[in-house]
């Protein structure tokens, strides 16, 4: 047990002591560490002003630079990591890094407050060696809000340095934490179990402890609601929870796998899922957020949940007392933010069959703003059409009810019918029997029903005339 959090900061080993392991990295940087280059703009993971970069080497020795929002990261999560802030960014000979020069000369900074966060997002992108393609540039910058510049000068500056800016920073320290870690200070105990057995024992003995995966939702309780947890169990270092396996046509995703790690697997038949994940959160969020966290939170507008419903996923739960059990996703959600998870259980993994070529699999997210907005309606659909007849169909929606839910009546209206525009029209008319959505300021009930119907029509159009459907970012 220790109250020392040891990590690498800007290439130097540091030990943070005398602080709560539930303190956010942002508060530590701006407070005790006096590194105020990292800015606070919302403390809720929405603005990116506090972007710092986590650096590590992959198993093949490649450098991985992931931008994260420091406001969502608890200090206990930082233990054993390598973090770079704007103060630790240099180019050759100690001069500013090329991204910094490009941003300053390109007038990509006005008031300057969002600027260090943007610099760090640019650095992560450039260091990762990605090409300066417009969609990638936008994706890399999507998590950084700016109220002054109108963004164009920032994108232009990034386009100038991306792809060829030499990476002058030394590789990150190799050190990483192995074995269980227990961090303790004041009222908070922060466990980092390294084995499944350790995790299950903690879960059994302390069912009220916060289970922390990435912290994109839970972190808000600390940074926004200013809660002080008594006990946090950080699950991310349990190997089984990091499993990511594609075999026999099924994809198994460990509960602590981040969206960033998952994305390369969401290609081919799963590409519509991948496209939605890119809109669900910025790179800063995707580097932290996990699919297990999304399932466990069970929000009616959790964006991956309708997709898992459409894919007929299984959730693998595990407890010390009863071992593993499989629960079909249809049976997993029991009410508003309620699930079948027992107090001593954890979510181990989720898995599903990858759609076959020829299956119709689509995901649509409707929100007021294209990027990183809470969904008004999210639809996910998987159909198999053989000989012009709908043989299997699963249609799921978020934002239409208290839980993510399937449109069972609509499915019935489609099943065994000819795959035609008329069938879709008849089926869409049934939506009102499946759902009685609520009015809120994100969208009226009428709008939700109308848009869900249009999504079904669009599903048909995509399958029959794909050239007609052009997404907003392809315009």
């Amino acid at each position: 047990m220790s109250d020392t959090i040891a990590f690498t900061l800007n290439d130097r080993p540091v030990e943070a002591t005398g602080i709560s392991p539930a303190m956010t990295l942002l508060d530590w940087l701006r407070g005790p560490a006096r590194l105020t280059g990292t800015k606070e703009g919302c403390a809720e993971g929405d603005c990116g002003a506090c972007t710092v970069v986590f650096e590590r080497l992959s198993s093949s020795g490649a450098r991985i630079c992931e931008p994260v929002n420091a406001c969502l990261v608890m200090m206990g999560q930082v233990h054993g990591c390598a973090v770079r802030t704007v103060e630790g960014l240099r180019g050759r000979d100690g001069a500013p890094h090329p991204v910094q020069i490009a941003l300053a000369e390109g007038d990509g900074t006005q008031c300057g407050y969002c600027t260090p966060g943007i610099v760090m997002s640019m650095y992560a992108f450039v260091a990762g060696g990605e090409p300066p393609e417009p969609t990638l540039l936008h994706d890399a910058l999507a998590g950084n809000l700016c109220r002054c510049t109108g963004y164009r000068p920032i994108v232009d500056a990034m386009a100038r340095v991306a792809g060829h800016a030499a990476d002058a920073a030394p590789p990150p320290a190799a050190g990483s934490v192995t074995g269980n870690a227990v961090l303790m200070h004041g009222a908070t105990r922060f466990d980092v179990p390294a084995t499944m057995a350790g995790l299950l024992a903690l879960r059994r003995d302390h069912p009220d402890a916060w289970l922390l995966a990435g912290g994109t939702d839970l972190g808000l309780l600390v940074s926004h609601d200013r809660q002080i947890p008594a006990r946090v169990v950080h699950v991310a270092r349990v190997p089984e929870l990091q499993a990511l396996v594609l075999e026999h046509g099924r994809l198994r995703i460990g509960a602590a796998v981040t969206y960033a790690r998952l994305l390369p697997f969401l290609e081919g038949p799963l590409a519509p899922f991948g496209a939605m994940v890119r809109r669900l959160g910025s790179r800063q969020i995707r580097a932290l957020g996990t699919i297990g966290g999304n399932i466990g939170t069970a929000s009616p507008i959790g964006d991956t949940l309708p997709v898992l419903l459409a894919l007929d996923a299984s959730v693998r739960l595990r407890s010390a007392a009863r071992g593993a059990r499989l629960v079909g996703i249809d049976d997993f959600f029991t009410g508003y933010r309620k699930t079948v998870l027992a107090p001593d259980e954890i979510i181990e993994a989720v898995d599903f069959e990858v759609p076959l070529h020829g299956d119709i699999f689509q995901v649509d997210k409707v929100s007021k703003r294209r990027d990183q907005d809470i969904s008004t309606v999210l639809g996910a659909y998987l159909l198999r059409v053989e000989g012009g007849i709908v043989r299997t169909v699963r249609l799921a929606f978020g934002g239409m009810a208290a839980t993510p839910a399937r449109a069972l009546r609509v499915e019935t209206a489609l099943l065994g019918q000819a795959w035609t525009e008329a069938t879709i029209e008849r089926a869409a008319a049934m939506l009102g029997e499946d759902f009685q959505p609520l009015d809120d300021w994100r969208g009226s009930a009428a709008f939700r029903l109308t848009v869900a119907g249009n999504l079904l029509r669009r599903l048909y159009m995509r399958a029959s005339r794909p050239d007609l459907v052009v997404e907003i970012d392809q315009l």
Binding site: D46, E87, D107, T149, G150, H224
Partner: protein
């Protein structure tokens, strides 16, 4: 020799500091012995505090003091009316009584050793209220005319009339008459407001986020009953503001009060959520615009009747109707401005206050008239181009609207537009092209500056202005370098400190005109002095010979030009939108803005400001909306997750800014008009007009969200 620097696209002199994280903002100053303050806010909109129990909070770990109206020192609150303060009414007095005037009003301040301890203890303060009836629902309020005389006794006409507008409207061959609604919007600069206060005896230092250091000093001196010169305000970097830093908000007083009681420095930083309760906002407005015209498209009548929300304790008014009185030629014009007094906190100026809102209504209505007449929207405006300011009956000092329409339309390709709505497509996407006129007054206020030349050929130039992002550091350095004939790296400009010569408020697009003219004059005076005394033709040589500093301080003030001319910047904004017919999503694909804004000191920073204004206008048109719960005044979307502002992907791939050449000798010595405000004006109506063109749906209530288009 140096070349002329005014007019050059100079890179920001503070750019390196900003990209390296070395620029220091208000909350980041290192002050020894600092304690942290957390504000407890009311959870009702109107009533009295029946009881407040702070025992548990006082006993919590690390707590230094808990201040409420029961134990806070009585404060002087001498009368003080700064230029950004409303004409009528009095600011809320902090912790001086049990009255609650709005949701989220500060009712206690907890001071503790750490921020975590202060925030935790703040949750332990127990409050009960006696609620009183009131309302926060603008739809249930009958607007009233504002008080006729302001607090200084001057009469403010809430109504203007020329000709016979009602008669002309009734007789008009073609008319449109609609109501336009804009909800409350918040400035939401990325930096939250923060203040660090430190007393030394009767002297106070404030590190504050503000657009006007001297006004903060004046107000806090009045609140505490001390001489203004005892208050020093330091604010070198401001992380955006757009008007939120014009007034001195309650947390500044609370920081100073907390520091006085705690006898040590205290920092108070608002959370993002508190930004929706602790500083002002662009008020909700409701505007009726009625236009009458002859069949050939000559305006015969214009009636613009608008009201806006304000608090019960201050009458905030913005220039909602001003542009309608002179922007287009019309013989019969009526305007009326009213207010809706509610149990909310007082709104304030937000980027292009008045014009951004008023011109949304006016330019939407003009577009509706163009559709009713079957006349091209640009052509309709050209037919009603005035020869002079018909309200003031003065000539314009310069007015480049015709040129703005011409160059922007040409760049945009307007001639290829087909008139009918829903007539342009890109695949299934509905394409629409719309435009609007923009204007913003040229403001010029008294300002002072000091220039000090040193024997080593460098110069220090000072004025207590601010730079919330437009590039004041840079443009002032340019002006000084240009006048002094010194390379830009040899001139150091300093701002943001009350120890420097007094500058006007950094708002209303007046900084370049006012502070720029003062810097120009101070540098001219210092240069002439140096050249005369040093007996040389250039400053560097003269200073070398002199061997001692030369200093010049200058105060400038506007002459009588405003009595002889109507002075405004003008512009034209063209937008292309694509609307998805299935989902109602709108994408702004292109924006072109042309502006006649006088001389442009730095085209690089000015262009950036205009692009920033355009994206602000996209936010206003399509997403921004502070939802106000009509039952209790709460703002349920008081965060960046649910108050949507544009993100990178919302920036159109083409944002084109054109500055029309303008040589205006009347406005001010530098010949500048300012671009910060006009950059957002006209964007929202251009987009709304484009959406009508795309879809045939006229949306008269912002923001234009997908649900309104299905």
């Amino acid at each position: 020799m140096t070349t002329a620097l005014i007019g050059q696209p100079v890179s920001r002199v503070d750019g390196r500091q900003k990209v390296t994280g070395r620029a220091t903002y208000a909350a980041e100053f290192e002050v020894p012995g600092l304690a942290h303050g957390a504000i407890v806010r009311s959870t009702i909109a109107h009533g009295r505090i029946a009881s407040i129990n702070s025992v548990a909070a006082e006993r919590a770990a690390g707590v230094v003091a808990v201040l409420t109206h029961r134990n806070a020192p009585r404060l002087a609150y001498r009368p003080h009316k700064g230029a950004p303060d409303p004409d009528v009414g009095e600011r809320l007095h902090m912790l001086q009584d049990d009255q609650v005037n709005h949701q989220g009003q500060p009712i206690a301040l907890v001071i503790a050793e750490t921020l975590e301890q202060a925030n935790h203890a703040a949750t332990l303060v127990r409050v009960s209220y006696t609620s009183e009836t009131g309302t926060t629902d603008i739809e249930r309020i009958e607007p009233v005319l504002p008080t006729q005389k302001n607090d200084q006794g001057q009469v403010r006409p809430p109504e203007t009339r020329r000709g016979d507008p009602e008669g002309a409207l009734a007789a008009a061959e073609v008319k449109v008459d609609y109501t336009y609604v804009i909800p409350r919007e918040n400035h939401n600069p990325v930096e939250m407001h923060a203040t660090i206060a430190a007393w030394d005896g009767d002297r106070l230092t404030l590190w504050d986020k503000t657009q006007w250091v001297h006004n903060v000093a004046d107000e806090i001196a009045a609140v505490f009953g001390i001489p203004a010169e005892n208050v020093r305000v330091v604010s070198p970097f401001v992380g955006g503001a757009f008007g939120s830093g014009l007034r001195t908000w309650p947390h500044v007083t609370l920081a100073a009060l907390g520091a006085r009681v705690a006898r040590r420095p205290v920092k108070v930083m608002l959370s993002r959520r508190e930004m929706y309760y602790g500083v002002g906002y662009r008020p909700h407005t409701v505007q009726r615009v009625a236009l009458g015209a002859s069949r050939d498209g000559r305006l015969a009548a214009l009636l613009h009747d608008g009201y806006q929300e304000t608090s019960t304790y201050e009458e905030f008014s913005e220039a909602l109707l001003n542009a309608s009185r002179f922007l287009h030629s019309c013989p019969n014009v009526y305007t009326r401005h009213r207010i809706a007094r509610m149990n909310v906190h007082t709104p304030t100026y937000m980027r292009a206050p008045g014009e951004a809102s008023g011109i949304f209504a006016l330019e939407s209505a003009i577009d509706e008239l163009a559709v009713a007449l079957g006349v091209d929207p640009v052509e309709l405006r050209l037919r009603n181009e005035p020869e002079q300011d018909e309200f003031k009956r003065l000539p314009f000092s310069s007015r480049s609207t015709r040129e703005c329409y011409r160059v922007a339309a040409e760049r945009f390709g307007w001639s290829r537009r087909t008139a009918a709505s829903r007539s342009m497509r890109d695949g299934r996407w509905l394409i629409g092209w719309g435009m609007a006129t923009a204007t913003y007054p040229m403001n010029y206020a008294p300002a002072s500056a000091m220039a000090r030349l040193l024997p080593d050929g460098t110069a220090e130039v000072r004025s207590a202005s601010s730079d919330m992002g437009p590039g004041t550091w840079t443009s002032m350095t340019q002006v000084a370098s240009d006048i002094l004939g010194l390379p830009i790296e040899r001139v150091k400009f300093t701002l943001g400190d009350t120890r420097l010569p007094r500058a006007p408020v950094h708002g209303g697009s007046m900084t370049m005109a006012s502070v720029g003219s003062a810097v120009q004059a101070a540098c001219r005076k210092a240069r002439e002095d140096a050249l005369t005394r040093g007996g040389a033709n250039d400053v560097t040589e003269a200073m070398r010979r002199l061997g001692q500093p030369v200093e010049a301080s200058v105060d400038v003030q506007p002459g009588d030009a405003s009595q002889r001319f109507s002075m405004h910047a003008f512009g034209a904004v063209f937008a292309e939108v694509a609307v998805d017919p299935d989902l109602g999503e709108t994408r702004v694909r292109r924006i072109v803005g042309a502006y006649g804004a006088g001389r442009i000191v730095n085209p690089k920073t000015a262009r950036s400001q205009c692009i920033g204004g355009m994206i602000g206008g996209i936010g206003m048109a399509l997403m921004e909306h502070s939802v106000v719960d009509g039952r209790n005044g709460r703002v349920p979307n008081a965060n960046f997750a649910e108050y949507a502002v544009p993100v990178h992907a919302d920036a159109p791939s083409l944002m084109d800014v054109i500055f029309v050449e303008e040589d205006d000798p009347h406005v001010n010595p530098l010949g500048v008009k300012g671009v910060g405000e006009i950059a957002i004006v006209g964007v929202a109506p251009a987009i709304a007009n484009a959406i009508f063109h795309a879809t045939g749906k006229r949306i008269r209530e912002l923001p234009i969200t997908p649900d309104k288009l299905l």
